[in-house]
C-alpha cells in the first residue's frame, strides 16, 4: 500500500478555487449486504490530484471503488477518512439518465433548470452548444429517437452546462459499442479542447484512459488503492498506435494483473 490515512502535511498543490481537485488518503467502507456480514472496504487511502484543466483518469477492475471515488469528489457521499478538497463538480454516469419526456435541448439544459433558470433561459443557453457539438436539428428529439452515441453527447452537454469547473465522468461510454465508443472518445477529446474543464474520468478501458487523460491512476481490486500513476505526455490529438501509448498500456495492464 502506498498511501495511508493521515492529515495532509503539505500545503495544497492545486488551487481549488480555480477548479482543481485534491483527495488525500480517502477511505470509504460500506456496511455488508447481509446482516452481520463484514463491512466492505471500497477505498483504502486513495490520493488524487487534478490541476485546473487537467484530465485525470482512474482505471481499475470492476468493484474497486471507482464510482465511490467520483461520488466522494462530487460531494454526494462523505468519506470515512482522509480529506477532500474539490471545486464544485458535476457527475455524468454510464447510463445517460436522460428524461424520456424531454427533448435533447431540454435534457441538455436540465442542470440550468436545477440552478433556477426558466425553461426559456435554459433553452437559450443550451441551443448554441447543441449546434457546436453536432446535435443541430435534434433539439426536440426525445431520447428514444436518438442513437446511443447521441444520447451520451446530450448527457455530456448537460454535465458541461451545469457550469461546474470539474466534470466527473463515470464510464461515460461503457454502454456503447466499440465503434461508437471510439468515435465518442475522439468527440470528447475535441469537446474538452474547446471547453477546457478539470475532468476525473473513471473507466475500465485502459486505452480510453490513455487517449484522453494527462495522468492515469491504476487502482487495485477491492479495497481500492492506487498501485501506479502513469503520466501521459503524448501530444494531442492522440493515436492509439502511438508508441508511448502502447508502452504505457502494457505497463497499466501489467499493474492491473499484479
Amino acid at each position: 500500500m502506498q498511501t495511508r490515512i493521515q492529515a495532509p502535511e503539505t500545503a495544497p498543490a492545486t488551487r481549488i478555487e480555480a477548479g482543481g481537485v485534491r483527495l488525500e488518503g480517502v477511505t470509504k467502507a460500506f456496511p455488508g449486504r447481509r446482516r452481520g456480514a463484514d463491512e466492505v472496504i471500497a477505498l483504502q487511502g486513495v490520493s488524487l490530484q487534478a490541476a485546473p484543466g487537467e484530465t485525470v483518469a482512474v482505471v481499475g477492475p470492476s468493484g474497486c471503488g471507482k464510482t465511490t471515488l467520483l461520488e466522494i469528489a462530487c460531494g454526494l457521499i462523505a468519506p470515512d477518512g482522509g480529506t477532500v478538497d474539490a471545486a464544485p463538480a458535476a457527475l455524468m454516469a454510464q447510463r445517460d439518465l436522460l428524461l424520456p419526456w424531454a427533448g435533447a435541448l431540454d435534457n441538455a439544459g436540465l442542470a440550468l433548470r436545477a440552478a433556477g433558470a426558466s425553461r426559456e433561459e435554459a433553452r437559450e443557453e443550451a441551443r448554441p452548444l447543441l449546434r457546436d457539438f453536432g446535435l443541430e436539428g435534434f433539439e426536440r428529439a426525445r431520447p428514444h429517437e436518438l442513437s446511443g452515441g447521441m444520447r451520451q453527447r446530450v448527457a455530456f452537454l448537460r454535465t458541461l452546462l451545469s457550469g461546474r469547473p470539474v466534470l466527473c465522468l463515470d464510464e461515460p461510454f461503457g454502454a456503447l459499442d466499440a465503434i461508437t465508443r471510439h468515435e465518442m472518445q475522439a468527440w470528447l477529446a475535441g469537446a474538452l479542447a474547446r471547453e477546457p474543464r478539470t475532468v476525473l474520468l473513471v473507466t475500465h478501458d485502459v486505452e480510453e484512459a490513455l487517449v484522453l487523460a494527462d495522468r492515469v491512476l491504476v487502482l487495485s481490486p477491492r479495497p481500492g488503492h492506487v498501485v501506479a500513476t502513469l503520466e501521459v505526455g503524448a501530444p494531442r490529438p492522440r493515436r492509439r498506435t502511438d508508441p508511448e501509448l502502447v508502452a504505457l498500456r502494457e505497463r497499466a495492464l501489467q499493474e492491473l494483473r499484479a
Binding site: 454526494l76 457527475l91 439518465l97 419526456w101 436545477a114 453536432g134 452515441g149 466527473c168
Partner: protein, 264 residues
Amino acid sequence: MATLTMISLLIVAGLIGAWELYTHVGGVDEFLLPAPSAVAEALVEDRGLLWENFVVTAGEIGLGIGVAVALALACAVALHFSADLRRALYPLLVGSQTIPIPIVAPLLVAWLGFGLAPKLAIVALVCFFPIVVPTIDALARVDADLRKLMRSFGASRWQTFRLVEAPAALPGLFTGAKLSVAFATFAAILAEQSGSENGLGHLVAQAIPQFETARAYAAVLILSAFAVALFGLLALAERRLAPWHRPGGVLAVGERRLPVDPHR
C-alpha cells in the same frame, strides 16, 4: 388489422343474433329477458328519459373521478415527501379499500341526503385507492441515479420533484384514472340505488318493478358505452400528455422525420 376488426364484429353480431333468436324461439317472457331489438326500440323511444338520467349519472362519475384524482394526487405527494406520513397513513389507505361500500352507501345517503354529495363521496371513496397506489408507486420508483444526478446539480428537493418526479409519475396517475373508470360506474349506480331521485341507477331500479325490462337494459347499455368512451378519452389524453410511456405507440402514430446524424 382489418381482419381482426371483422372477426370481433362478427362475434358480437353472432352473439346478438343468438340472443334475439333465443328470445323468439325459446319462449322467454319479454319481461324477464327482452330481445335486443326490444332494447334498441327502448333506446329510441325512451331517449328523452334516458338522456335526462344519463346526464345526472355521467356528472356523478366524472365529478367523482375528478375529486378522487385531486385527493389521490394530494395524498400521493404528501406521502412521497414524508416517510413518517407514509408509514402512518399507508395502512389507513389500504383500510379505505376494505370499507364495504354496499353497506356504507345507504348510511352516507342517510347522512348527506338524496343529492349529489353522497354520490360524489361514494364514487371518490371507491376510486381513490386505485388512483393513489400507482401514483405513489410511480413517484417512488424514479431512478435513484436520477435523483443523485439532480443532487449533483445542486437541485432542491422541490426542484427534483417538479422537474423529474412529477412528470415521471404522470403515467402512474393515468393508469389509476383509467382503472377507476370501471369502479366509478359501479359506484355511481350503487349510490343511486341506495337512494336518489334521478340517474340511470334510479331509472333501472324503477324500470324493473314496472316491467320495463328493455328500458333497464338500454340504461345498462348506455352506461357501458359511456365507461368505454371515458376510458378511451383517458387513454387518448395519456398518449398526448405522456407519449414517452409507450414509445412504440408514438412511433406508430406518426414519427417526426429526424435529420441524419452528421457524426455517423
